[in-house]
Chain length 350, copies 2
DNA sequence: ACCTAGCACTCCTAGCCAGCGATTGCTAAG
DNA sequence: CTTAGCAATCGCTGGCTAGGAGTGCTAGGT
């Protein structure tokens, strides 16, 4: 832990604040003036440190659980630490390799790669990891194939440019042959190619069906297939590693955990919390009350977007106690998101 | 709660045991003799009940946390209660309807229906629900379709009789046209039809590819597609509702929960625990030490298989404290499994 | 032979208090 | 501006007590 650049604080105050945050993250115990002088070479006595600590508390960076205890960082203290004081970490080559290896073994399917990445991040971060799954809505239509299974049943497969295939079974009122389905597939593909899924209109489909003189029920069948491709994973989350939170001394009390797990289960709140980080370039951190949810005042979230090609399509996040190793988690989240992004783009269908 | 049939115990002992279990399940507090005489019309005094309780303790049905406390059931006590004393429940029409409605709205995809059923059971049971996903290995091959995406890329879709479609992207070294892929699909379908996935051999595939004079790389492509269809979800679990366990007074202590969550995460132990219930006709219950895992001595599991057509393909389970409402959970698990079974069979491709 | 009132006994629990240790803020001197 | 020293504060622990819950046993009644 090194002193960072000032930022409203003189150099020594900055160093002391950084050290308090660092020490508290490591031990989960309020940090006393004597601890600071003993474990870190400050070159001043504990009395001097006490004066500095009092100033930092007056400035809102630290709080005291009770008069005869050491100091712990406030949200503002953590914020200053993250923004100005801490030394950013980069991933060790070993970690980087491990991430790549684990993700390589995962299936190629969109959903499953994202879930693997989430599990991996949960394990590495020893916290709760979660990811938003991309809405298929914004994906590019790539191919539609109607598969003939029997005279009156079939399956529609919609492939997007991300390589996600969604399927929907259908049943028909009148018999049909395999060739007709193939013709229809071809007609649809030439009409729908290069559109966004969300831009496909019923009229496009109707035109193709009518042109071939096929029964109107195909319109429904195809629209259903397209709709299921679109609404697929809309704004759902993958999460992993909740049990890691149980190891933190501050969550030995089950009630705090209960509310957080409810929030994770519910998904929507969590989704909203990270949604605005979609366009971020670097990992974003939200600390305690910054999250704006009462039940989460003791938590922080690190969020980093992942990409498909050029554009961000979802977020990968770590949720843990405010007392989290920010630098490390930011590095881990970035690294995982990066690897995930390149993994996804590998699978792109050109 | 009614007295059940004796079973080594005279009628009054049976009634008292049943009442103790019932009361302990409801309150989570050791049950005292006076509580029994006051809340239930036993027609005898608390002193008499004390004598009976002492006998039941000697018989191993009850235990006393300490000398001046009431009694709580032992594993044997719960076992007797479940096997002989409790009144089986059947689901209310309202519950039954709710299950059907919620599962109807779920996607038709095999995995997703199972996941929905698990989530639903977690919510209804207010405990942790989990399900084994069927190994695709034992499914019937139904259709293979190679989809042309570009001159050198395509996607293989394998459809099983359960309606599960698995997909795998491929890339070729030499250009190919859409028609050739269609021909190859047809040739493969006529050869592979009506086989089990696990019975398909490389030679079957090779024959079709060679017959059409296509490049050898197709053999790899197709075998990969088939392999990904097979190994799909091998022995993985879906789980939901862990946070419900936090509400139980016995798990306010985070450590007990930690070990259970690890076991759920790990999957294998849990899978082995329920595997032998695959062929059961009725819900099976395992109580405390019967599970044979030290960390789970305070838990019980209710398991019921679900079916596809005639044969059982997986299990749906509820995991909770030993002190669980067995009759209700058995009814809920059965009801959910039944609805799941018929939902799956609806989707069968004939 | 069984039931039950009464009672002594056991053991947990909550509350209280004292003492200890940790840590601070303040003061006064360097 | 720093620091040594010191009184003051407060949480934590341990021991102690009083209260209460519940039992097991005994002895008398039916």
């Amino acid at each position: 832990m090194n002193p960072g650049s000032p930022g409203g604080l003189d150099k020594r105050k900055a160093y002391i604040l950084a050290t308090v945050v660092y020490e508290y993250i490591a031990t989960a115990e309020p940090v006393a003036s004597q601890t600071l002088t003993q474990k870190y070479s400050l070159g001043v006595s504990s009395a001097t440190v006490r004066n500095e600590l009092a100033d930092l508390e007056a400035g809102g960076y630290l709080v005291q659980p009770h008069t005869s205890a050491g100091r712990i960082p406030s949200d503002a203290g953590y914020r200053t630490f993250v923004d100005q004081l801490m030394q950013p970490e980069t991933l060790q080559a070993a970690d980087r390799r491990r991430i790549r290896d684990e993700l390589r073994d995962a299936s190629r399917e969109l959903d499953e790669v994202i879930e693997s990445a989430t599990r991996l991040l949960g394990r590495l971060s020893k916290n709760l990891a979660f990811a938003t799954k991309p809405s298929n809505d914004a994906q590019m239509f790539r191919h539609l194939q109607l598969i003939w299974l029997s005279a009156r049943t079939g399956m529609g497969i919609v492939v997007t440019s991300m390589g996600a295939a969604s399927q929907s079974l259908f049943e028909l009122a009148a018999d049909i042959g395999p060739d007709e389905l193939t013709c229809l597939s071809n007609a649809l593909n030439s009409r729908l190619g290069n559109k966004m899924l969300r831009d496909i209109r019923e009229s496009d489909v109707a035109a193709a069906v009518d042109e071939l003189g096929l029964a109107a029920e195909f319109k429904t069948v195809i629209m259903t297939a397209l709709r299921s491709a679109r609404s697929g994973e809309q704004s759902t989350l993958a999460a992993s590693g909740a049990q890691n939170l149980l190891d933190q001394p501050e969550f030995q009390d089950a009630r705090k955990l209960r509310s957080i797990l409810n929030i994770v289960e519910e998904q929507k709140t969590l989704y909203d919390l990270v949604a605005d980080s979609m366009m971020a370039e670097a990992p974003e951190v939200k600390i305690g009350h910054e999250l704006g949810v009462d039940e989460m005042n003791d938590f922080s979230i690190v969020t980093v977007p992942y990409r498909f090609g050029e554009s961000a399509i979802g977020m990968l996040s770590v949720l843990g106690p405010r007392r989290m190793p920010y630098a490390r988690l930011m590095a881990l989240a970035s690294g995982t998101a990066e690897t995930l992004s390149s993994r996804l783009s590998d699978a792109e269908i050109k």
